[in-house]
Symmetry: C2
Subunit: 477 residues, 2 copies
């Protein structure tokens, strides 16, 4: 590990210069959603391409219909090195309301006392600070003999406004971008001292259900008692979907849902996560999911069926004695493991149809579906990265999940056939998207050191033959 020590030493030696470079990037007002900042986005892309070129990357700014991509390639000198694709985004959220910022959001500064300093600026945490941790790790490798993996860097400029150019770009550059593993740096640590790899992202299937009965709204005095009420029909469907233990009753729903690996389950149990406090933050106290599951399991590792909206009949103030002719509900399913969204939706539709009394018709409106994404817990890359992060932070690394979906990870999986390991050093309280966004200086510094350790560990794992890059690269997505 003499080589790694040299890299880490180099990162430490570069720290002030590294901060200067990050500040330069933070000064660029690359707000992607506002056309007024179009040139600033282009400037941020150029700045990054130049940085990468300076490190020896074969880097370029690649135009799209929206803001440009930055792609850079740097080969390792080591034979059989694994290939990784690192993704980040250089665009930022709008800074307004400006009057809530203590200082100019694009005039980065250090705040706080020595040892507890933070970088304050729009994009400090989301995502310029995070992506620069990776760039600085690469720099240190380059300055001490070369990177341990073949590295592809992909920086996007539209993450904060819908990533509309990304799918076409991935499709058009599939071969160039294909790697053994994706690394995405847009996530949090467990807490300020505990690193986390986000290895599970729940999937999402969305379906609207419209139940129709009579040909028009009816007077409840004249027809009440004889005419079917679609609100009642829909209510019964919604009610039937969960049993008293909180389990979803749609046949086959749990197909592909696995229990947590015992080691991860054990780790989650020990995490200082206070489910009661989590719920109390929004005025709740009783976990509403499956009986016997912890809150963390409910939100990270278990599938759900929820109603996001329901509508039927009279919506105004007071009363109206009407029997509505239609009622509708918007359902969402959070999916985990190997649940197949299409199968789930098909089973859901059958479930609804089976509960449709005579005279009722149902319409299904599809609003999208994507499966869960999970880095297998047996993945050698995960094992390697966990150990690397634990070494840097002196704490066991949490293997966590995310209840929500992160579209880019889905794109990598479905369009390029690549698994993604999400490692980030942001904190819950970084105020991303809000005034006075900050990034801990320790996140920036130890983040760069963390990437150095992770890259070295992935290369070492590869040398042990547990990552078979050549084979994996040939898998058609």
């Amino acid at each position: 590990m003499a080589a790694l020590d040299a890299v880490l030493g180099k990162i430490d030696a570069n720290r002030d210069a590294a901060l200067g470079r990050l500040f330069d990037l933070l000064k660029i007002r690359s707000v992607s959603t506002d056309p007024a900042f179009r040139d600033e986005c282009a400037r941020a892309a150029s700045w990054l391409a130049d940085e990468l070129k300076g490190l020896g990357f074969d880097a370029s700014v690649r135009p799209t219909e929206g803001h440009p991509m930055v792609v850079g390639h740097l080969k390792s000198k080591r034979a059989g090195a694994p290939r990784v694709l690192f993704y980040g985004h250089y665009d930022v959220q709008p800074a307004d309301p400006l009057d809530l910022w203590v200082t100019d959001p694009f005039a980065p500064r250090l705040d706080g006392v020595e040892g507890k300093q933070r970088i304050v600026a729009r994009g400090a945490s989301d995502d310029k600070g995070q992506l620069m941790t990776f760039v600085e790790a690469c720099r240190a490798f380059v300055e001490t003999g070369g990177v341990p993996c073949d590295i592809i860097v992909l920086f996007e400029g539209e993450e904060e406004c819908g990533s509309s150019s990304l799918p076409a770009f991935l499709a058009a550059n599939r071969d160039e971008l294909k790697a053994d593993l994706c690394l995405v740096c847009d996530t949090n640590m467990w807490d300020a001292n505990t690193p986390m790899i986000t290895a599970m992202l729940r999937g999402l299937a969305l379906e609207e259900v419209v139940v129709r009965a009579a040909s028009r709204d009816l007077h409840s005095g004249i027809f009440g008692g004889a005419a079917i009420n679609p609100v009642r029909v829909l209510a019964r469907i919604i009610s039937d979907i969960q049993d008293d233990s909180g389990r979803v009753t749609i046949p086959g729903f749990y197909e592909g849902v696995s229990e947590l690996p015992p080691e991860i389950a054990e780790q989650w149990k020990k995490l200082p996560f206070d489910g009661a406090k989590f719920l109390a933050s929004v005025g709740l106290s009783v976990p509403a999911g499956e009986t016997g599951r912890s809150v963390l399991e409910m939100i990270w590792a278990r599938p759900t069926c929820d109603v996001n909206g329901v509508t039927g009949g009279y919506q105004g103030a007071g009363s109206k004695t009407v029997l509505p002719a239609r009622a509708s509900a918007k359902f969402s399913f959070r999916l985990v493991g190997q649940q197949d969204p299409e199968k789930i939706l098909e089973a859901f539709r059958a479930f609804v149809r089976a509960r449709l009394p005579g005279d009722c018709e149902v319409e299904f409106i599809r609003h999208g579906a994507s499966p869960a994404l999970q880095l297998p817990s047996s993945s050698p890359a995960l094992t390697a990265a966990r150990a690397a992060l634990a070494a840097e932070w002196g704490q066991d690394c949490v293997v966590g999940g995310s209840g929500g979906s992160i579209p880019i990870v889905g794109e990598f999986k479905h369009d390029l056939g690549m698994d993604t390991m999400m490692i980030g050093f942001a904190l819950e309280d970084d105020r991303i998207h809000s005034p006075n966004e900050k990034y801990e200086l320790s996140s920036f510094r130890k983040g760069a050191r963390s990437w150095a350790r992770v890259l070295e560990a992935l290369a070492w794992q590869e040398n042990q033959g547990t990552l078979s890059s050549a084979e994996r690269r040939n898998v058609t997505p």
Copy 2:
């Protein structure tokens, strides 16, 4: 029955003059909801008061905060005659859209061929034609020796715009208006040849339920699985309220609900009412009420629980991954027999509270409650009137119900302690409230004869001692 024959003969002899008088009333544009017709309303009231005075009534126009009332009293010369209060309204609906009328809505005319003629004008059926049938019956009695009952006439001028002056007027004139029985002429026949007494009106209780859980709307990715969803809670409540046989499951709900008297049940079974056709008119085919009940029973004689509106979460197009913090539903209960609205609402609230999981709060918003109104099937007045109507029309008289409520009947019951018998000669196809409103000439002519028979029958019944007017009049409402 020689006396009655003379009265009926007088009605026949007066028929052309009677039609002329009705036409005079129909020419008055007494649209109550439009302030532009205020003077016309006053003119209609004066016209009616003058008519009554001409018959010997002690009649007057009585001002209110809105349009005036007309009250008239005429004593019978017979000792111990029963006292009846006859209610009608002289105001009419606006006539627009005028271009859909074949002729001026306030230029009454006869339409159709001899033997099948109808009176066409705004108010012909609702309610000027109907109330004049009663006035013409009184005229014939007066011209042949006197009315058989003590008669109080009450004509209102605000029925089509909310009857806002009526409750205060009833309260202020309680002693003057108290009678043994109310007669209301604002209803239909079963069909053009079959008379009907409407003897059951369902009551109505309205209650809105708001279920609240989290302190704000939640992201379904972050909280989905752990946070309770008020839409689900509400759906379960709605779903639980009926069992699979269509019965309402609220404890005590059927307290005070009786089976139809066998004779009425038998009559309803024989009625040429096509439940399938009734439902088909609004695109339905399966009666949704209690298993084993006929459609007519469901809408006339059975209580219901319905949801008139439901709302929760995202209401716009597309999808939104939100867990709503609140959901609400507007419930209505149609009540029958002796069901107590307050008890029903209390039981309903308990039913809801019992299904409220932890973290949920419920708010109940009251939108009013009134009990069902029912003329007891054993009522001697009902028996007498049925026989009288059957004699006039040569058909058994249907004892029917109405699924909806008629506020005036409730006022008479609750404010004055009086039962109401609703007899009218309108038909389903009279186009009331619509262009080209009509009233069958046979309804007008035989309607007057019907009232003569009914009044005579009520007086005869009284003489048999089965109506105890003196006692009944002393009952405090």
